[in-house]
């Protein structure tokens, strides 16, 4: 009876006969919930840690990717400009070659002329000897 009266007044006794404001059942559920909550918080903490490292890793990767990307762009541009440089070099060399060709042509003409003169002189010498 007393229990009933107490429970009406909102007081209960637990199995250790301690006086409680909550019903023992609720009490046990509450503590259960508390346990579960604690578990949950722990788990969430773990998750956050894991996610943190993951983000870090991904960040690093992205940085690397960015770097490589820049490198790629750079080398692509370099490639393009090298083609242009080569063109300019080629142009320069072509000009030099043309110059050399002209020199060669000059020398060829001179050489041919000298050969002609040599043959003329040989002819003259032969004739001269024959006349004697």
């Amino acid at each position: 009876m007393a229990d009933e009266a107490l429970s009406r007044a909102g007081l209960h006794f637990d199995e250790l006969n301690k006086i409680r404001v909550l019903e023992p059942e609720v009490q046990s559920q509450t503590s259960e919930l508390k346990e579960e909550c604690k578990d949950f918080v722990d788990k969430i903490g773990d998750f956050q840690k894991i996610v943190g490292t993951f983000i870090e890793v991904v960040d690093n990767v992205s940085k690397e990717v960015e770097k490589e990307k820049m490198k790629a762009i750079g080398s692509r541009n370099l490639l393009k400009s090298i083609a242009k440089q080569r063109e300019a070099q080629q142009q320069q060399l072509q000009a030099l070659i043309a110059e050399r060709k002209m020199q060669l042509e000059r020398l060829r003409i001179q050489y041919e002329n000298l050969q002609k003169e040599e043959s003329e002189q040989n002819e003259f010498i032969e004739q001269f000897i024959l006349q004697k």
Binding site: N113, L114, F124
Partner: protein, 817 residues
């Protein structure tokens, strides 16, 4: 970016150079490459480039000493002054003297001003000149005026102190380039695609012509060869003469031509473009091309000795080029300037090499007549080709030798101050001078030397040629120069024979070739025309043969003096050959022995040889071996050679040889005449007759009168129908008046004319013409001649032509009846 650069002309023998730059870079030095070029007989050249990266802050002018590579900052300009052009005050204008304040340069800038800046860097004057930038500023050659051109299209002339004298023109476009004419009385400037020559005189009509397909960026006008050089945005460079005729046009380059510059001696020029430097001959073809990584070459400047060129480059560098590999050829020797202070001489016969080292830069070298003459910036070295170990060395007063001309016994040096003749021992013989001599613009066409004579074409009056004795330096004869009727373009002296027979070949403005004697005694100077359309000529080094290129033909006068002996013979002594194998506009460079070297228009050297016989004939004749000469001609059986011998012997009054030679070329009339001459007992009379044969009646008469052979002189004039002169002589000497009158009467009767000559009528009155008496008198004269003490019989004929029956000294004048 470097915009302008200039070699100071006013520093005595200094090599410093000034440049401005308006951006900064590290100062480093690197050698670049070798340039190849070749030139002259002489195939010269490589050019070595030292490239100096120029370090400077903005707006500074740096002064470099190229000897010890010191760089000093000369002046720091205000931040808003960007220099565009600079030009040193010309050295010639200072007269070599040490006038104070003459060492300055003018600097033009983008703010429309030009500044006169002293050697120490003090800005002496800044003058507001143009609206917009001043693009170019040039001193005149005499230093009396400064020319500026600006973006506003104006060209202005300023006094030496910076006062405006006149505004020459007002164009609608910017004027990018200006240049002075050789006499500083004309100005060349650009007007878009046009080139304009304008005289400083007001109201003078300018010469204007379209030069390029694009805007013309730079021009230069050489005072020595009087040619104009232009370069433009159509990527071509062109060479013009002052009559706006195009002498050369280059093929299109890859980039616009940004700078052009003549060497001071006008033999070469340099062209600058983007990453390009080119060295060309004055005829336009290219000796060498260099592709330095310097960006555009905005300005080129030659050192006053013409061995180095400095360029202001787009990337802020200064580029310095040396001319190397200049090659000279003579006989079996080949000398090459391999480095700027080194010459290697190669003897082709035995493949030996001689290396000659010099203390200073080699400026000019000349190889001829068995001697190599090398002028460095301070000394002159003379090597004999027999021994290259021990040169004769002497110091030069001025460093800048602009020309060396050699003769067999001595050579001629030309520098800024004068003309000097030295022996091959290095002794100064003389220094020919005339008032108004401008040694700085002499070139190898306008000055020549032989063993005894120096000839210089005057600049002030181009019709005048001054001749000097090479041993004394004094003007020849009466001191009066040779005056031709037209402007003389080229002079050349022959090298052989006695001094009295020195001949000068002259090419005038019409390209006609004249031959004139240098030494004349009393008589008029005889100038004879030899040919037309002569492009170039050369005397032989060992004999007096003259070779020329004319109008598509290669011509050799085996004996040009024939024109003085027997004009009819001249065409027979000329060797002609088609010159088509030498291309268009070939240049004759050398005529050594029987070998002729010719440069084609595109630069290649070709050679051709002529028959060796004329040279042998010359040598026989020179040593008086007439029999050998005749034998040679008989052996060769060439009419040309016989004709040469005929005129040579006629000139030398060698009657027997002349008789044989004239007979061989079938000139019967002349043989007959010579036979007659032989029968004349008196030597002077024979000489006179020879003069007649050579077509010089005046000479003949002079000889006769001098020898006292009055009768012959009178008769000579009678024969020439020169009646007045005959009578004059007869009256003057009071003899044979009746003879003259008698012949005159006969002549008149023969043609059925009446005497109308007053003098003859006057003398006729008192004199009876009695032919018997006259003939007796004539016979007496001949008798007298035979009895003259100095009577020398003509040398016996060495056979050949059959003799006509001589009548022992009887006159062979065909007596007209």
């Amino acid at each position: 970016m470097l915009r302008c650069i200039d070699y100071p002309s006013c520093f005595h023998r200094s090599l410093c150079e000034i440049n401005t730059s308006d951006d900064g870079e590290e100062l480093t030095k690197l050698k670049l490459t070798a340039w190849s070029m070749d030139r002259n007989v002489e195939t010269f050249t490589f050019m070595q480039l030292c490239l100096c990266l120029q370090g400077a802050d903005d707006h500074t002018i740096l002064k470099w000493n190229l000897v010890n590579n010191e760089t000093t900052s000369l002046v720091k300009l205000p931040d808003d002054v960007f220099p565009t052009d600079m030009h040193w005050f010309p050295k010639a204008a200072t007269g070599g003297g040490k006038k104070t304040g003459s060492d300055l340069f003018c600097l033009t800038s983008t703010d429309g001003k030009f500044h006169l800046i002293g050697k120490t860097g003090r800005v002496e004057k800044s003058v507001e000149a143009h609206k917009g930038a001043v693009l170019s500023g040039r001193w005149s050659y005499d230093g009396s005026a400064l020319l500026t051109a600006g973006e506003d299209g104006q060209v202005k002339v300023w006094s030496r102190s910076g006062m405006l004298r006149s505004t020459l023109t007002q164009n609608s476009t910017s004027v990018y380039g200006v240049a002075w004419g050789p006499d500083s009385d004309q100005v060349l400037f650009t007007n878009g695609r046009q080139l304009v020559i304008k005289s400083l005189q007001a109201n003078a009509k300018p010469t204007m012509w379209k030069g390029h397909e694009g805007v013309i960026l730079q021009v230069d006008w050489n005072p020595v060869n009087n040619l104009i050089l232009s370069g433009g945005e159509d990527c071509r460079y062109k060479v013009w003469d002052t009559y706006s005729r195009l002498m050369y046009s280059s093929s299109a380059h890859d980039y616009p031509i940004t700078s052009v510059a003549w060497t001071p001696d006008g033999e070469l020029f340099a062209i600058g473009s983007f990453n390009t430097l080119r060295l060309c001959d004055k005829t336009g073809w290219s000796y060498a091309l260099e592709k330095p990584n310097t960006g555009s070459v905005f300005k080129l400047s030659w050192s006053s000795d013409g061995t180095q060129v400095a360029g202001a480059c787009g990337n802020g560098q200064v580029l310095i080029g040396h001319i190397l590999e200049r090659r000279l050829e003579w006989s079996n020797f080949e000398a090459t300037v391999t480095e700027s202070k080194k010459i290697v001489v190669r003897n082709v016969l035995n493949e030996t090499y001689d290396k000659l080292d010099f203390r200073d830069r080699v400026i000019k070298a000349s190889l001829a007549f068995s001697h190599l003459v090398v002028a460095t910036s301070s000394q002159c070295y003379i090597y004999s080709t027999k021994n290259f170990n021990t040169p004769m060395i002497f110091d030069l007063k001025e460093g800048n030798v602009s020309l060396i001309k050699q003769a067999e016994k001595h050579f001629l040096l030309v520098d800024v101050a004068g003309v000097y003749v030295y022996t091959y021992d290095g002794r100064l013989v003389c220094s020919p001078k005339y008032p108004g001599l401008r040694a700085d613009i002499l070139n190898s066409q306008t000055v020549c030397i032989s063993n005894d004579t120096v000839a210089i074409r005057d600049k002030a009056d181009e019709k005048v040629v001054y001749v000097f004795d090479a041993l004394s330096g004094k003007p020849l004869g009466d001191g009066k120069p040779i005056t031709h009727k037209l402007e003389v373009m080229e002079v050349a002296l022959d090298h052989c024979g006695p001094a009295a027979e020195r001949r000068l070949a002259i090419i005038d403005k019409n390209r006609d070739l004249y031959l004139t004697s240098v030494r004349v005694f009393g008589t008029d100077r005889k100038t004879v025309k030899l040919g037309t359309m002569i492009m170039s000529l050369a005397w032989n080094d060992a004999t007096n043969m003259l070779a020329a290129l004319a109008d598509g033909k290669f011509t050799v006068w085996y004996y040009p003096s024939a024109v003085y002996v027997d004009k009819d013979l001249l065409p027979k002594t000329v060797f002609e050959k088609e010159a088509s194998e030498f291309g268009k506009n070939p240049q004759l460079l050398q005529f050594v022995g029987n070998h002729v070297v010719i440069r084609r228009a595109e630069g290649s050297l070709v050679s051709t040889s002529i028959s060796p016989y004329p040279a042998i004939l010359h040598s026989y004749v020179q040593s008086g071996r007439w029999d050998d000469a005749v034998r040679l001609c008989r052996f060769v059986k060439d009419e040309m050679l016989w004709a040469c011998l005929a005129s040579m012997s006629a000139y030398a009054k060698e009657l027997n040889t002349a008789e044989i030679a004239y007979a061989a070329i079938q000139e019967a009339d002349k043989v007959q005449f010579i036979l007659n001459i032989k029968d004349i007992p008196v030597k002077d009379a024979r000489n006179a007759e020879m003069a007649l044969l050579c077509g010089n009646p005046q000479d003949a008469e002079a000889i006769l009168l001098q020898a006292g052979l009055t009768f012959r002189a009178i008769l000579l004039n009678v024969q020439l129908y020169n009646w007045d002169r005959a009578l004059e002589l007869a009256v003057k000497h009071k003899t044979h008046v009746d003879t003259v009158l008698g012949y005159r009467q006969r002549y008149m009767e023969q043609y059925g004319k009446k005497e109308s000559n007053k003098r003859f009528l006057q003398y006729k009155e008192g004199i009876e013409i009695d032919w018997e008496k006259i003939e007796a008198k004539i016979e007496m004269e001949y008798q007298k001649e035979r009895e003259r003490p100095e009577r020398t019989p003509a040398p016996a004929s060495s056979g050949g032509a059959p003799r006509s029956g001589g009548t022992g000294g009887a006159p062979k004048y065909p007596v007209r009846t």
